[in-house]
């Protein structure tokens, strides 16, 4: 057998080993974390909140007693300038300022809130992972340039950055909110992934793969990236909470979706500030909904972080 063939066979075997260990080893590492996760009451509470939230959003048309966009005459008739009914026959939570059913709007609101949160997080995650991955994989001047760019983005407090981006839009809508909130997440994801990729670069398994002449993009995609993703995923869960809160803050400042026909918690909360003296419930219900959902994502994210932390491995 020639030396070349021998290395090739060895390389083959290493690839297979890497794949196998990525599966079994990676899986057992993940399974390990998962096991700790399901044992943690915090994670269960967080997970249950999120599950309920997602189900609510998915089955909103079945659960909502009324159409969230329709102004009901019986509710309009009950309301005056100084009174918005907080209950009516068939409308358990009463009306909003325009005579629409508050309960149905709250239920439908979960959809839009979930959509804004998830879309912003995914967008931020995608751009951040691409930038961070490139920086971490290539190193050198590419890394330096990209990281200076994130420095600039991090030089402005994140909510201020979102505000200035959203203020740029001449006509704010849900997409300007999503883009603004996604942008502030980008540098965080990019830095995290780059950091954990750089740590991988010098690790033994990557050195071994490189020594054996495994192609660079295989190393990056198969050996480094999967091992570097877990802090990023934890961050993504936490970002969902922040995204929902920041979107609400933008709505509050008048930079949210201008289409008040659409039911969204942040928007409802922002709108309700004007009717606080007349009917505080208009603000309190969506606010409590936001708090519960944000708490759910935070609880899950924090317990994921704890479960993945090697210091907690037993």
């Amino acid at each position: 057998m020639t030396l070349g063939a021998l290395t090739e066979r060895k390389q083959d075997r290493l690839d297979r080993l890497a794949a196998a260990s990525a599966e079994s080893g990676g899986a057992s590492l993940l399974m390990d974390a998962l096991r700790r996760l399901v044992r943690s009451p915090v994670a269960i509470v967080g997970g249950a909140i999120i599950a309920a939230f997602v189900l609510l959003a998915a089955f909103a048309p079945l659960l909502a007693p009324h159409d969230p966009g329709v102004r009901y005459d019986e509710l309009i008739d009950l309301g005056t300038a100084s009174h918005i009914p907080d209950h009516a026959p068939g409308f358990p939570l009463g009306a909003d300022n325009l005579g629409r059913d508050l309960l149905s709007r709250l239920i439908y609101g979960s959809r839009q809130t979930l959509f804004v949160g998830v879309a912003a997080t995914l967008m931020g995650l995608f751009v951040g992972v691409v930038l961070g991955g490139i920086a971490g994989a290539l190193g050198g001047w590419v890394d330096a340039v990209l990281m200076r760019l994130t420095d600039v983005m991090l030089a402005i407090p994140s909510l201020l950055l979102a505000i200035s981006l959203a203020a740029l839009a001449s006509r704010p809508n849900q997409w300007t909110v999503i883009i603004a909130v996604a942008t502030i997440a980008v540098p965080i994801f990019a830095r995290l992934l780059r950091g954990s990729m750089l740590a991988q670069r010098e690790s033994d398994h990557v050195l071994a793969a490189r020594a054996l002449g495994v192609r660079e993009h295989t190393i990056v995609l198969r050996h480094m990236l999967p091992n570097a993703m877990s802090p990023v995923l934890v961050q993504a869960t936490l970002t969902l909470a922040v995204a929902i809160l920041d979107a609400a803050a933008l709505s509050f400042l008048g930079l949210g979706d201008q289409d008040t026909h659409r039911a969204e918690w942040g928007l409802m909360l922002g709108e309700a500030q004007r009717y606080l003296d007349v009917r505080p419930g208009l603000a309190i219900y969506p606010a409590v909904a936001i708090v519960i959902v944000a708490l759910g994502f935070t609880l899950l994210g924090e317990s994921m972080r704890e479960a993945l932390d090697p210091k907690n491995r037993r």
């Binding site: 909510l159 203020a167 740029l168 839009a169 803050a249 505080p280 603000a283 935070t298």
Partner: protein, 334 residues
Amino acid sequence: MLRVVVRRLLQMVLTLFALSVLMFAWLRNLPGGPAIAMLGERATPERVAALNHVFGYDQPVWVQYGRWLGRMLTGDFGTSTSSKMAVARELSQAFPGTIELSFFALAFAVALGVPLGYIAARYQGRPLDSGVIIGTLVGVSVPVFFLGYLLKAGVAVRLGWLPPSGRQSAALDATHVTNFFVLDGLLTREWDAAADAFMHLLLPALALGTIPLAVIVRITRASVLDVLNEDYVRTAEAKGLRRQTIRTRHVLRNALLPVVTAIGLQIGLLLAGAVLTETVFVFRGVGWLLADGIQERDYARLQAIILLAAVVYVFVNLIVDLSYALIDPRVRVK
């Protein structure tokens, strides 16, 4: 040490330079361009061209940038389109208010957060600890502006204990020297004015301080737990040192290092939180100016405030890093 300082300063200047380029690009790419943004509905092609000429927008880009940067560096931020005042003057009145507000918010967060975090760590795993942790998680999940409204509606409007809005009662006709209203009252010996300004600060500071409080509690707790497991703490215990000595000299002193960093980072974030809090309490600080500027599409003002926020934020971060090196000899060695 000196080399680190110089390198960090250079980095800071570079970051701010890049930011100024972005800000300039932002200004130029306003919807319809700055002239139209300024003229609003009165924009005609002739007027736009005239205004572009007056402001030099018909010059080459790099000339414009140079002039713009020169003006920014000399503190000329232009004129606010909504108040017709020089933005620099607006800021000189509003910024002290925001600093006062942030100071009290942070003081509240530190004074309550460090002891709470320490106690939670001491009783790790007990109900007290769990209670504190859940409290911090709920604390970061409540939208700041909503908390502000709750405080305002409950404590100020319904109970009438504290003023619901503003920085000081207009009826007092207080003398202002530094525009730090509490300080002004103390300097001019108008005690009632100082007390009144302080009362106006309490609720906004409470609302603004909640998130920093939660962060400081969590970091103090985690850091104290780390230190409690250190060998030197066990050694100190084995030596038979008094509990009190170990707690203050060995545990707290080392545990507070990460807390100092966290506090520093919170200072920058307070600026962002101030936008929401000040709007709720109609507290005329920089945050209120910003929110108002958004409604009015007052770009000169927005630009100045964002640049100011970035300078403060980057500068505070630098100081935090440097002070960290001063406090912790281990960082200095690297």
